[in-house]
Amino acid sequence: MKKFNRAFTILVFIFLYIPMIVLLVASFNSGNDVAVFKGFTFDQYKELFRDDDLLSLLGNSLIISVLASLIATILGTMAALGIHKMKGKLRSAVMTVTNIPMTNPDIVTGVALALLFAFAGVALRIHSILGFWTLLIAHITFNLPYIILNVMPKLSQMDPDLTEAAMDLGCTPSQAFFKVVLHEIMPGIISGMLMAFTMSLDDFVISYFVTGSGFVTLPVEIYSYTKKPMQPKIYALFTLMFIAILIIMSVMNLLQARDKTKRQRSRLLGGRVK
């Protein structure tokens, strides 16, 4: 059984990675047809770095993702602290609203926001309201639940006496938060923020509905590229992003691994002292 599972898992991973390998290989292909490998070349990369438009779109995507995940992290962490104190009906009402953007399909979220902005545009007499701000608002909105759903469990795992202990030792409530609670929920905040950041960076569907001609992100532009005959420099961009994400994830993986072994070691020590 174990052997079967192992072989099966390997097959599934091949299935998951084949399309990406196709794209990686295509980025070094001198021909335009992905299906036919004509010869090895770096031309696509040269082409990519000459294309200022594409690079500035990447910049746009990064600006939106960084801003949206930061703002969502602050708003969401505050919200989680508040919700943590809530009880009964109020709490379940707020959590239900929090789950709406999580449960709603992206297309509905996108359509709803697009309609809201159209409405607001008419009301405010702004001709083309869609652009940077609408994009930012949309991204913050779908990022918020990720922060809350990552921070809330950390808050409930935390020893509730810690806040009281800090106040007992002279901290005002806000000092108690920054000196104690923040440290305890930091892993949740960071993982929520990273999740929000990647969701933002990769979001296409919602952005597609709330973006205007003034400010476009990379995934939206890629979508319009894929409607036309494909330019192979996109494959080069994909390859570079693949490498970047691979590096980031490996580093996080290593940090996590080190953290885990450290904790295990200290637990062992503790056991021995006892």
């Binding site: 009281e164 202990a165 106040m167 007992d168 030792l169 002279g170 005002t172 200290s266 006892k274």
Partner: protein, 374 residues
């Protein structure tokens, strides 16, 4: 020793319409070791949290040094707490945990260092400065928690079942240690526990609580020897509690027999509860006995035997070093000082009958007591 430091007047605490504390009146003297003792849910931890400033009473006042402090937040009170599960900050090492309060108070690093070092010595944790608190044993975490509170030189230290998580041996050591620290620091300790032995060992004053009310306040000797009602008599140590009638001062009747006693001030023919401690009962040959009965069970307890004796259908617990085999017929004598008389109370008839006694009885009671309210 006798100067009053804290006073609680008519303290009432309600959560969702449920009365947790019911008009608590209590004063606590400076430099005294006071213990709030009672079963789970009796309101002892709530009382402690009101004093600490973590709860605002529904009504009634908390006075500190004569001033009303109901609305003073926890961080402005000269009171520190040792929490039940210690609540050490996991992101700080031992030194930084202890220095936490001093840093908040913005003391100079030099003074902080002096005081932390001194404190580490007092709690015997020298050399542990840079250890992570998560790597310490329960007893060591306990010491850090005490040091972290005491280093701020509070006038009062609150301790919420601080020994509950330790094993028996360590608990006994820490009891002595705590008493020693309290005397060395010369401050007030308010200690919450459900363990009567802990309370008797350490306290100057014990406050016995149940159902949100104070049942009795007194020195350990008073509480043990002169329990006010059946609840106190049963909760502090073992007691046989019987129905009796007070015939006159110094004369009580129970089991159809008159006994001399040391109590007075009851009305004539007042029905009363009679308490007889199991260790006070002397076993004598049948012909010399005030009462005679049959031994129904004997359990070896180390120092003594727990002997259950059936007197006319009512079973008594007798703790004796003399072994009387099951089934033997014995007599007992009761001296006037062995008999203690209490007024009837809501607790009458609920405690003090050993008819259902079994050897596991204690363990079950312990397991129940282990969990505290909230």
């Amino acid at each position: 020793m006798s100067q009053e430091l804290i006073r609680l007047t008519d303290l009432v605490m309600e959560f969702d319409g449920e009365r947790i504390l019911d008009s608590i009146n209590l004063y606590i003297n400076d430099k005294e070791f006071l213990t709030l003792l009672g079963p789970s849910g009796c309101g002892k931890t709530t009382t402690l949290r009101v004093i600490g400033g973590f709860l605002t009473p529904t009504s009634g006042d908390v006075l500190f040094d004569g001033k009303r402090i109901n609305d003073v937040p926890a961080y402005q009170r000269k009171i520190n707490t040792v929490f039940q599960r210690y609540a050490l900050f996991p992101h700080l090492d031992v030194y930084d945990n202890i220095a936490f309060g001093l840093r908040i108070a913005k003391l100079s690093e030099k003074e902080i260092d002096e005081r932390v070092t001194e404190m580490l010595e007092i709690v015997s944790l020298k050399g542990f400065e840079n250890r992570k608190v998560t790597s310490l044993s329960g007893g060591q975490q306990q010491r850090v928690a005490i040091a972290r509170a005491l280093v701020n030189r509070p006038k009062v230290l609150l301790l919420d079942e601080p020994l509950g998580a330790l094993d028996l041996r360590l608990r006994k050591d820490m009891q002595n240690e705590l008493k020693r620290i309290q005397q060395a620091m010369d401050i007030t300790f308010i200690y919450v526990t459900h363990d009567q032995e802990e309370a008797l060992t350490m306290s100057d004053t014990i406050v016995v609580m149940d159902k949100g009310k104070i049942q009795q306040i007194g020195s350990p000797e008073d509480i043990y020897n002169e329990p006010k009602n059946a609840f106190v008599a049963d909760f502090i140590g073992e007691s046989n509690i019987l129905d009796g009638v007070m015939l006159d001062d110094y004369l009580v009747k129970f089991f159809g027999r008159q006994f001399k006693c040391l109590d007075k001030g009851f009305e004539k023919n007042e029905p009363v509860d009679v308490v007889i401690r199991p260790e006070d009962i002397d076993i004598v040959p049948v012909e010399q006995g005030h009462l005679c009965g049959t031994v129904t069970s004997v359990t070896f307890k180390g120092v003594h035997y727990d002997t259950i004796v059936d007197f006319k259908g009512f079973k008594w617990l007798i703790q004796t070093t003399d072994f009387c085999p099951e089934g033997s017929y014995i007599g007992i004598r009761l001296n006037p000082e062995d008999i203690h008389i209490m007024h009837k109370s809501e607790y009458s008839g609920m405690f003090g009958d050993y008819s259902s006694y079994s050897a596991e009885y204690d363990e079950i009671a312990d397991a129940e007591g282990g969990e505290d309210e909230e």
